[in-house]
């Protein structure tokens, strides 16, 4: 690992001030992705600003919103009684990701900022437009079993690896960001970007900004929600396909529905057309099948990941069916 200067700070304000001073600096929180990337030479910041002592670990109910600080650990969130009671979908998604050891240190903000696990991005001998814009995409025409089927570009077909972010997109979370002048809010679904012509940009966080907290409105999806994750082994693997599904059913009619997929796009992929189709309809397998079919309208595969064209709709149907069946 190339050495770097290490700085420690205890307030968001000073963290942002330090960040502004040098464009080659980065925040470090849990470090479970960043240190890995630095060991492999994918990234080599000149300064690391340790923000672990900034007091942003709160998990609380304020009015009708659950507030989660950017530095709350994945374990702290997943094991929190308020989260389990009000946002079980988030707890399920978190527990489906990584391992107990990693979740103990990985933070909410760090999870949002994690980079793709595309093998071409990680191997610095390979072309990758995300790591080195203009060098080409090794995955297009290469090993692309894990790769995207939605919203791809001819520059990049990588997927965002997070489970947590899939649930937060479905839950209509809001991200609060701060810079030296103040705060701004952005919908979680708008935080991450599609690759387009700028695959080097994973998200819309600006260079002078810091993730401060999440605000998640409470909802009526608590009873009938499910996070389905399909992967190569039963645990501790990234998703081939995942689905966050939440249903609110009254008098056998779907009054609210949330559907978001992971492992299929450069960002958590919200299935808006499928949601709109299901609203007001009965929660039947036939309707779930129609919704799944609608979700696949613009899907495109790249060879090794052709199987996702079948796995994705099957997973949507399965997630909705399990969510519905929860008593």
């Amino acid at each position: 690992m190339i050495n770097f200067q290490y700085l420690r700070t205890t307030t968001a304000k000073s963290a942002i001030a330090l960040l502004l001073k040098d464009k080659n600096s980065k925040f470090i929180a849990g470090g479970t992705n960043l240190i890995d990337l630095m060991k492999r030479g994918v990234t080599a910041p000149e300064k690391l600003i340790d923000i672990n002592h900034v007091p942003l670990k709160q998990i609380e109910l304020v009015g009708d919103k659950v507030i989660i600080g950017a530095l709350a650990s994945n374990t702290a969130v997943a094991e929190n009684s308020l989260i389990k009671e009000k946002l079980p979908l988030l707890a399920m998604a978190l527990n489906a990701g990584a391992s107990a050891q990693l979740r103990n240190v990985a933070t909410v903000g760090g999870n949002m900022m994690q980079r793709t696990r595309c093998g071409y991005f990680y191997d610095i001998e390979m072309p990758c437009n995300k790591r080195q814009p203009g060098s080409g995409c090794g995955a297009i025409g290469g090993f692309n079993r894990m790769h995207a089927i939605f919203g791809t570009s001819d520059k990049c077909i990588a997927v965002h690896p997070s489970d947590m972010c899939v649930a937060l997109t479905a839950l209509d979370a809001v991200v609060v960001l701060a810079n030296a002048k103040g705060e701004r809010k952005i919908l979680f679904k708008d935080f991450h970007r599609l690759a387009g012509d700028t695959p080097q940009l994973d998200n819309n966080l600006k260079a002078d900004e810091m993730i401060i907290r999440l605000e998640i409105p409470i909802n009526n999806l608590v009873k009938n929600s499910h996070y389905l994750k399909v992967r190569d082994r039963a645990s501790y693997a990234f998703a081939l396909v995942s689905v966050a599904a939440g249903l609110e059913i009254s008098n056998n009619k779907i009054t609210d529905v949330r559907l978001t997929m992971g492992g299929v796009a450069h960002k958590p992929w919200r299935l808006t057309a499928s949601e709109n189709f299901l609203k007001g309809k009965e929660a039947t397998v036939e309707n779930f099948e129609q919704a799944a079919k609608l979700a696949m309208t613009d899907a495109k595969s790249f060879g090794e990941n052709d199987f996702k064209l079948q796995m994705a709709p099957n997973s949507i149907i399965e997630a909705l069916t399990v969510a519905k069946s929860k008593a």
Binding site: M1, I2, N3, F4, Q5, Y6, L7, R8, T9, S14, L18, K21, I28, G30, G31, T32, I35, D36, M38, K39, R40, L48, D50, N52, T75, A98, S99, A100, Q101, L102, N104, V105, A234, S235, Y236
Partner: protein, 207 residues
């Protein structure tokens, strides 16, 4: 390595760097030493400060006061500096769990934690588990149930298993497997490891 016309000029770059970095930055690290160095205009002292970071931590109930390069991981610090070789380097990328230790009582992958991030923390390694000659119940259970073959993953498995019991994720064999999934065993001793954890979770085993 390219030509010699790009000769690095360490002294200059250090001074240059020091001029640019604010006093606040230094104060954030080590107030008294940094201030003293500033008063004495001790450029070289400053440079050293930035190359090695003071580190205080407790490992297996023993306090250590030292300084380390920022890039040294907790794993390398334990093995190379403290010569505690029980904690193993498997993949060095957070994928195998062989490096699992407890930090303030919670299990973490020491390969993905910088030593300097553990300032003031209490670390427990496999060497800190036994009470003298008396094995920790989990160590005894691994022996009793044959929870290993080659043994390379075992320190990480045991540390993870102790945490798994403490966390209460032992309500079924399936739950144990799920919460132990961050520890890979290439010999495939998984069923025996689960047996050991089940026994300890029920109050066994004294060796």
């Amino acid at each position: 390595m390219q030509s010699s016309d790009k000769k690095p000029n360490q002294g200059d770059s250090r001074r240059d760097f020091l001029k640019k970095s604010s006093l606040i930055t230094a104060i954030a690290l080590t107030p008294s030493v940094a201030l003293k160095a500033a008063e004495n205009q001790a450029d070289e002292r400053f440079a050293e400060l930035f190359e090695k970071i003071p580190l205080n931590l407790t490992v297996n109930n023993k306090a250590y006061k030292t300084s380390v390069e920022p890039r040294i991981t907790l794993l390398d610090y334990l093995r190379e500096e403290l010569h505690l070789m029980g904690t193993k380097k498997g993949c060095d990328h957070g994928q195998c769990g062989a490096c699992t230790v407890h930090v303030n009582g919670e299990r973490v992958n020491s390969c993905l934690s910088l030593a300097v991030m553990n300032e003031g923390k209490k670390i427990t390694t496999i060497e800190g588990l036994a009470n003298g000659e008396e094995l920790h119940p989990m160590q005894a259970a691994f022996i009793k149930h044959d929870g290993f073959q080659c043994g390379y993953c075992t320190p990480g498995q045991v540390m993870s298993a102790v945490a798994c019991v403490k966390e209460g994720h032992t309500n079924s064999r399936a739950e144990i497997s799920e919460y132990m999934s961050g520890n890979i065993c290439r010999c495939g001793a998984y069923p025996n490891i689960v047996d050991a954890i089940v026994e300890v979770s029920k109050g066994g085993t004294k060796a």
